[in-house]
Every structure is written in C-alpha cells, then in structure tokens.
Point group: C2
Chain length 231, copies 2
C-alpha cells in the first residue's frame, strides 16, 4: 500500500478553525507592524483573548509552525497563514451593483491585499455606466456575459437590490463563476457548483440588539407597543 492522491488523507480542518485564521492573520500583521519578531502561544493568547491551547491546536491543523522553547516567528507564521488562506492566489472578482454598497466594496482596497483583484463593476444605471471607480470601469449589466467569457472571473460580489439578487446570482453561476459573495438578506441557494457566502449584515445588528437587551434590560418607555393580535 502506498500514498494515494496527494493530501487526500489529511483530516478536513473544521470550519470553526478556518474562521479563526483571518483573525490570527490580523493579529500577526499588527505584531509585524510593532516590529515584534517572535511570539509564544501564551503571549498571543493574552492579546487575542483565546486560550494558548486553542492557538496551538489550530495552528497544528496545518503543520508545526513553531519551535519548542522559542515560540513562533511572527513573519513566518504570518506568511504561512496567508498561504493557507490563499492570499497570493490572485483571484479575479467582479462587483455586480454599483450602488452605495457596491461602491463601498470597490473602494475597499484591502481586498486586493487579500488576494482578490476587482476587474469589473456592473450596473443597470446608465448614468453610472461609463464612469469608473479607482480606474475600474462600470459596465452595463448587459455586458456581463461577454465580459465573463472574455475575462477569467472567479468571484462575483453581489450588491444589487434584494429582488434582483437571485437573478444575477444565477446568471453569474451559469457563466462558471466559482464563488458568490452575497450581501442581500437571503440564503442564496443555486443548483450550480458554486460556493456561496451570505453576509447578512442585519443579522449581526439583531444580535447586537439582543445583547443590548440582555445587558441593559431595555424596554424603552414601553411606547404604544400595540401588541396587535399575537394569537
């Protein structure tokens, strides 16, 4: 018996761990800026507010990045996590919808540092079409098909009105886009081989509301609550 297809035996890393990686990356970036060369799991633990044990467990899902008696080399670990997250992958992304949210995304230069290059923006608003954001031209949505066929597009960021979202999502998926980043408050599902991340901003706001309630025992002046017919 010999090794099968490369790395198919590795146990799949849990999503809980993967979701923590960007946070590690952020803290390591801060350490780099502060010119800190090495860090122990203990020290990182106290900065991040998670246990040292968890840090070591998490990192060891991907390999032994540290050194006994020394800790972790900040720059090395930073680069390794960057690699794991695929930050030098040079993904090509487009933004569909050039309203406020689409423009905010287009202006968020950080995405490029994270390996996502925005190569096109699309909208139906003819007064926007022809203009550009940071040099990226805004095209009419009608050009979506031809553009994606002529340019390699990995990811579409969807910042269109709620009702339009499933429609443009399907168009993008049909064209072979591999990932969708959806900002409409719905759980987008498609019968295509595409990875979908739903953002759900207002869900987060509602959780904030819940926490406020819990902590400060709100119920503001109980103003005309109406209680209209709850069974």
């Amino acid at each position: 018996m010999f090794w099968g297809v490369r790395m198919n035996l590795k146990k799949k890393v849990s999503l809980a761990v993967v979701k923590r990686l960007p946070r590690y990356y952020r803290y390591l970036s801060d350490l780099l800026k502060m010119d800190i060369k090495r860090i122990s799991s203990q020290e990182l633990s106290s900065r991040m507010g998670i246990t040292a044990s968890q840090i070591r467990q998490d990192l060891n899902c991907f390999g032994g990045f540290g050194q006994q008696g020394y800790g972790y080399n900040v720059e090395f670990l930073f680069n390794e996590i960057g690699n794991i997250l695929g930050l030098n992958n040079d993904y090509h992304a487009i933004i569909i919808g050039a309203g406020n949210m689409g423009q905010a995304l287009a202006n968020y230069t950080n995405f490029e540092k994270r390996g996502f290059k925005i190569i096109g923006i699309f909208d139906v608003n003819t007064s926007l079409v022809g203009t550009d954001i940071r040099g990226i031209p805004i095209r009419h949505l009608d050009e979506l098909e031809s553009f994606v066929q002529e340019n390699y597009v990995d990811v579409a960021m969807l910042a269109v009105p709620f009702e339009q979202t499933p429609i443009v999502a399907e168009r993008a998926a049909k064209l072979g886009v591999k990932g969708l980043w959806n900002f409409s408050p719905m759980d987008l599902k498609l019968p295509y081989d595409v990875i979908i991340e739903n953002v759900h901003l207002s869900d987060g706001l509602m959780v904030l509301g819940y926490k406020l309630n819990e902590k400060f025992e709100f119920i503001r002046e109980d103003s005309s609550k109406g209680n209209d017919g709850n069974s």
Copy 2:
C-alpha cells in the same frame, strides 16, 4: 426559599442559539409572505437545512411556542422571535462616517424594520455636511457630543477610516452610547461599559477564498509567485 429577582434563574441562552434567531426570523417572514399559516419543525427543518431537533431545542430556550400534533403558528412564532430579538425596541442609532459604507448603511431601510432608527449621520467632509440621506441630516463630527447629549442614542455605527475608528469609538462610548457596530477590520476594545460588534467583511471574503481553494484546488497558473523570503 422563594423566587429571586425575576428571571435571574433562567439559564443563559448560548450565543450559538441567539445567532440562529435572525435566520429563523427570516424564514418565518418568507413563510408569512407565502401565506403559510402553520409549520412543523420537520418541514422547517427541510427548508432551512438544519435538524428538526435543533429547531425545537432552540425555540424551547425561550418557551413553548408550538402545539403538539399541530406544529407552530407561523405568525405567532414570527412575532415571538421578533420580541426576543427586541425588534420593537425602537433603538436610536447614529452613523459615524458618511462615505460609501456609511451611505450604504443609511440607505438600508431594513434596519428600521429591525427596530433600529437612524437619527443622525456624522462626517468631517464639509461638502457632505448640511446635505441629507433619506431626510436624515449629515452633521459635522464636531457636533457629535452636543447631539448625543441632547438626543437619546443607543447605538453608533462606525463607518470611518481605519485609523479614525478607535478615536471616534472612544468618543461615542464616553458619551454613554451602549452599543457600537464597527466596520473597520480591527477588534475594537474599549474600557467602557459598551457592547461592541465587529463586522470584519474581509474575514468573510478570506473564508470564501479558503473554500474556493479547498474545492477547486486553485493555484492559478502559478504566475510569478515570487516566494519572497518566507523564512
């Protein structure tokens, strides 16, 4: 021995459950729109892609909303979850930063349906100050202190540049704002009694990148990867 202060004995509901509530709320809202009057945990389970058992467990953290042999009344459950999330709490919110993201937030009318009313927008850009978004005037950031003292403000949504974020966050917290919703890619921490929710959009994008890599085995044409000095 008798009952202590009201409901201080209830076991604290775990954050995992609370985070699922907005999603239940969304699905129930959809059911209402489709004029579906009642739903069993089984049926909801298949729609949402989680187990019926989990649905019943989750809901029973807050009380028995269903009826044996019948299921759940959609409208009743919808309203109950809305109450739990404090959607009729009439929170007063302000937006600090009227750039693209701030404007996107200001135009997102859904927040009002979720119990958050935006009563003010602040920026330092004098060409924006004096204008308004959906009738909400944009004020100069200098007016923040006087405005918050004169108007009840529960939550500040922070959509300012990275470097400004800790500064305006501290100003808001000092003024007694109870919740902060932070859109800068940092873990905001403050020595005040304030609840902070950090959004971290690009963290989500990086997780999408990781999943793309995992599924499609990326490594695009290995274009001039440079490999500049990783250790």
